[in-house]
């Protein structure tokens, strides 16, 4: 089997530039189509949203019969970003590519923000390399709010501090309730803690402890004792500075006739109050009721 080889001949392309008026026809064998360029172009996918356009101005040199790129064109052929046909103002940073695109077509931009003070436009700054938040301050005219550590006790009278409103709430066991103040004097409205209760004891004959109550946290203490039975009762009141300590007789045995009432107010500080009762005549029991109310102040 024999093969016939034909000599390979490069294809030659003729280029033609036609102007609208057909004034100029340029046919130049040296202006060959660049094979490398034609291999790259299919890699670009053009969409209806993004259409990259590269335009390099060329001029024909009739003397040299060549297309040439005018001097200075390459220097100005920088990539510029457009948004809605508006070109961003270049930064005044010399020799700095303020916008560039990497090989993965990610766009990088170096931005600087500026804002006017009274007379000048100044550049805004971040706090530091570690804290990249924008540096801000709160002003009232030329008075800048002062920031300081909470641990500071002595604060200069010449510093300006931010005025804030605070709301105090107290927990009532179920909800956090807003605390009130007095409308006239704007002082916190508080109600002194109080405790009141009563006890009824019947069939008292021999000496019986009819009341024992802690009063350690109460300043003002009032007791009202009434003989609710039909026979006389002897009643005495004992005070202790501490539980299990020495008993001091605040009121010695006093006879209460049926329905008779005895009131006792104690403003001294004690730990516990006890009330004892016994029938005036043994074998003739009676009953009593003791009401009490304590105030913390």
């Amino acid at each position: 089997m024999s093969y016939t080889y034909r000599k390979y001949k490069f294809k030659r392309y003729e280029t033609e530039q036609k102007r609208r008026e057909e004034e100029t026809k340029i046919i130049d064998d040296k202006f060959l189509f660049d094979i490398k360029t034609s291999g790259i172009i299919p890699n670009f996918v053009l969409t209806n949203r993004v259409q990259p356009v590269l335009a390099i101005p060329l001029s024909y040199n009739p003397t040299r019969k060549l297309f040439e790129i005018p001097s200075g064109v390459l220097r100005d052929a920088r990539l510029k970003a457009y948004y809605l046909s508006a070109e961003p103002e270049p930064l005044s940073v010399s020799d700095f590519d303020f916008i560039r695109m990497d090989e993965y077509r990610n766009l990088y931009a170096h931005l600087k923000a500026r804002a006017p003070d009274t007379n000048n436009v100044v550049e805004l700054q971040t706090e530091s390399e570690d804290y990249k938040n924008l540096r801000v301050a709160i002003y009232d005219s030329s008075r800048r709010v002062h920031v300081e550590q909470i641990a500071t006790d002595n604060i200069s009278q010449y510093l300006y501090n931010l005025c804030t409103k605070s709301f105090l709430h107290g927990f009532d066991g179920t909800y956090w309730q807003r605390l009130r103040c007095d409308p006239s004097y704007k002082v916190l409205k508080v109600m002194p803690e109080t405790l009141s209760n009563y006890v009824e004891v019947s069939d008292i004959d021999s000496e019986t402890e009819v009341l024992s109550v802690s009063v350690a946290k109460w300043k003002s203490k009032t007791f009202v004792i009434k003989n609710t039975g039909t026979n006389d009762l002897d009643v005495k009141v004992i005070a202790l500075a501490l539980d299990g300590g020495i008993e001091y007789e605040l009121m010695s045995y006093t006879t209460l006739a049926p329905s008779e009432v005895k009131a006792l107010s104690i403003n001294d500080i004690w730990g516990r109050i006890k009330v004892y009762a016994k029938a005036t005549t043994s074998g003739n029991p009676s009953s009593l009721r003791i009401d009490y109310r304590f105030y913390a102040c």
Partner: protein
Amino acid sequence: MKSIMLELKTDKGVTYRINVQYEIYEYENEKGEKRVHVTCFAPFIDFAEFDFKKEEFNEDVLKKNLLIKFAEVIK
């Protein structure tokens, strides 16, 4: 503040009627159980605290626990 009346009789035949005031605080523990914490104020015991499962709490249960407390201090 709620209150319940307790009545107890001693060995000497003396009868006490004691008014017990109490506060209830409902909460949910870390296991998700709904519970009731009760703080009681009364003479003799001064104050006492109890903790119940919410579904097991009622006044009779509270009285039963209070009577045990009073029995320790009223002879």
